[in-house]
């Protein structure tokens, strides 16, 4: 049988590259090649994270942008004819994937959440309509080019020594270059709600801004991030806009969502209904949030929250 075609992975973010390598390993047991830009050491590192071989395209510290390597990668893909090419779904990754696909008269299956091989075909699953629907597609093109976000695959535990060889790849001069003038640090978002494992969400049941102190205390006791519903961020400005969960705010998928005084309007539910465990505390028993809750407490938050913090701290 012809030498089995490989699965290639590419990302400028080492952590995401490691996840893609682990993911590639699950696709039909093929050899996995990691294509690396940036520090040379990242290529060596890829070999300790499960890659069977690694190729270093070049550095991106100086004048070269990540996207300048598209022609180089395209040449390699045409020569190496991998079966699948997984690209990390960062903004740069999406740019590389799109331009690469266009050069190869191919397309990109974006933000894939799950791969499934069925007979000889590869099926992919991703969300459309802002999470309102799940679409399953069968890949027809060769190679299959797909972007995958962080959190879809878990990286393999790093091996002690690198197996497999590392090569350097000749740079192909791109047809055009954008000239880098300056790199500015991006102010780190105060909170990354999307990545938070536990979230306490404050709602309109709170009377005064000072009452957020109770929410913060509960959050500290549980090791959770503090978020809020739209009116608190938009109307009353008790919290910054990036802390509000909802259709035009953050969408979260934590292990715990704890809604305090949240009524549960549809626009909010869409942003939190994929949480693993949902707890709701509200004085109105008919509040819609209770239908979405695993554990519902009907009562006055001013009495229950202090008792809850006490009970958590008093635990052995």
């Amino acid at each position: 049988m012809a030498e089995q075609r490989e699965i290639w992975v590419f990302s400028e973010k080492p952590a995401l590259l490691a996840e893609l390598i682990a993911g590639a390993k699950t696709l039909g047991g093929r050899r996995v090649a990691a294509w690396v830009v940036g520090a040379r050491s990242s290529a060596a590192q890829a070999l300790t994270q499960g890659a069977d071989r690694a190729a270093w395209l070049g550095d991106t510290g100086g004048e070269r942008l990540v996207e300048d390597y598209v022609p180089t990668l395209a040449q390699q893909v045409q020569a190496g004819a991998p079966a699948v090419l997984l690209i990390g779904s960062t903004r740069r990754g999406r740019a590389v994937a799109g331009r690469l696909a266009a050069r190869l008269d191919n397309t990109v299956l974006t933000d894939v959440l799950e791969f499934q091989s069925e007979g000889g075909d590869l099926l992919i699953r991703h969300m459309i309509f802002g999470g309102g629907a799940v679409r399953v597609e069968k890949a027809l093109a060769q190679p299959v080019i797909a972007t995958v976000g962080s959190g879809v695959f878990a990286p393999l535990p790093p091996a002690a020594a690198a197996q497999g060889e590392m090569v350097e790849v000749p740079f192909v001069e791109p047809e055009w270059r954008a000239r880098l003038i300056e790199r500015k640090p991006r102010p780190p978002a105060a909170v990354n709600l999307a990545a938070a494992r536990k979230v306490i969400c404050a709602g309109r049941g709170l009377a005064r801004q000072e009452d957020l102190a109770m929410i913060n205390e509960l959050a500290r006791a549980l090791g959770a991030e503090v978020a809020c519903t739209r009116p608190l961020a938009e109307g009353l400005n008790w919290l910054p806009r990036e802390r509000y969960i909802g259709i035009s705010g953050a969408t979260i998928k934590p292990d715990l969502y704890f809604g305090v005084g949240v009524s549960g309007q549809a626009q909010h539910i869409i942003g939190m209904n994929r949480s693993k465990v949902v707890v709701a505390l509200n004085k109105d028993s008919s509040a819609p949030i209770f239908q979405q809750a695993d554990y519902g407490v009907v009562g006055d938050l001013y009495a229950i929250l202090p008792a809850l913090v006490q009970a958590i701290k008093a635990r052995p």
């Binding site: 954008a178 209904n273 554990y295």
Partner: protein, 258 residues
């Protein structure tokens, strides 16, 4: 500067109806301009106003997009002309097919200095068409653009990336996919809506673009279903504040959350 702004008309995701078998239906959905494309239209209008030039709006899609409400709405937000590629073969068109059709249409438009696209379409949000289109046109192509300024040697742009901001000089003509931070979209005014009714609209079919031979299909849609709803336990905790607190701590412990 003459600017082409690519826009996708999409059914409103808020109008999705979930059928009893989990499949979804959109035939009663209201169609409108993709909410993420409005910023691209605004950016194009402002650049044209600042540099003296015209804005050509371009869209491709099935027959639903050929509706006076949609055309007037788009033309009331800054563009001077509208070009539509209307063909039912574009129903559920993939990103590559859409980019190919837009590239074909741009070939028939006059000279341009810049092509702008939104961050992603409001229905699919694959964030791909601008990038694939730019490469097909063989032009400088960048996404995540949050700021555009004209400069002596072309454009000065800022790219809002995950970990940093890149400030770049980009030669023209170029293709840029803008983020929603680029400009707050304007609300159409009474007079702009009235003027929109009189602006030129040109309609093409795939045949007019020499693409009637059919578009390459790189993937086939197998199913589209509503996400499966997590079944909630709906356990109600009763009792005094202390009893409720104790009970809740017990459950959180059982769930491994404390």
């Amino acid at each position: 500067m003459n600017i082409i702004v690519c826009v996708k008309f999409t059914p409103d995701a808020g109008d999705i109806q979930v059928n009893s078998d989990g499949s979804i239906s959109l035939e009663r959905a209201e169609w409108g301009i993709g909410s993420f494309d409005l910023q691209a239209v605004e950016a194009g209008a402002r650049l044209a106003e600042a540099t003296g030039g015209k804005v050509m709006a371009l869209s491709a899609g099935p027959r639903q997009i050929n509706h006076s409400k949609l055309k007037k709405d788009l033309l009331s937000r800054g563009p001077d002309e509208l070009y539509l590629v209307v063909d039912d073969a574009l129903q559920d068109a993939g990103t590559a097919a859409t980019a190919r059709v837009l590239a074909g249409a741009i070939g028939k438009l006059g000279p341009f200095d810049l092509v702008l696209c939104g961050e992603g379409s409001a229905d699919l949000y694959f964030q791909q068409v601008g990038l694939q289109l730019g490469e097909m046109l063989g032009l400088p192509t960048l996404n995540a653009i949050r700021k555009i300024e004209t400069a002596a040697d072309g454009l000065r742009v800022e790219r809002d990336l995950d970990d940093e901001i890149e400030v770049l000089a980009v030669p023209m003509p170029a293709v840029l996919a803008v983020t929603t931070d680029v400009h707050e979209p304007r609300l159409p005014t009474m007079k702009e809506i009235l003027k929109a009714g009189k602006k030129p609209v040109t309609e093409w079919t795939l045949a007019d673009l020499g693409l009637s031979g059919g578009l390459a299909k790189h993937s086939a849609v197998v199913s589209i279903r509503a996400p499966h709803q997590v079944q909630r336990k709906n356990i109600r905790i009763e009792g005094s504040p202390e009893e409720a607190a104790q009970a809740l701590v017990g459950y959180l412990n059982k769930e491994g959350l404390i």
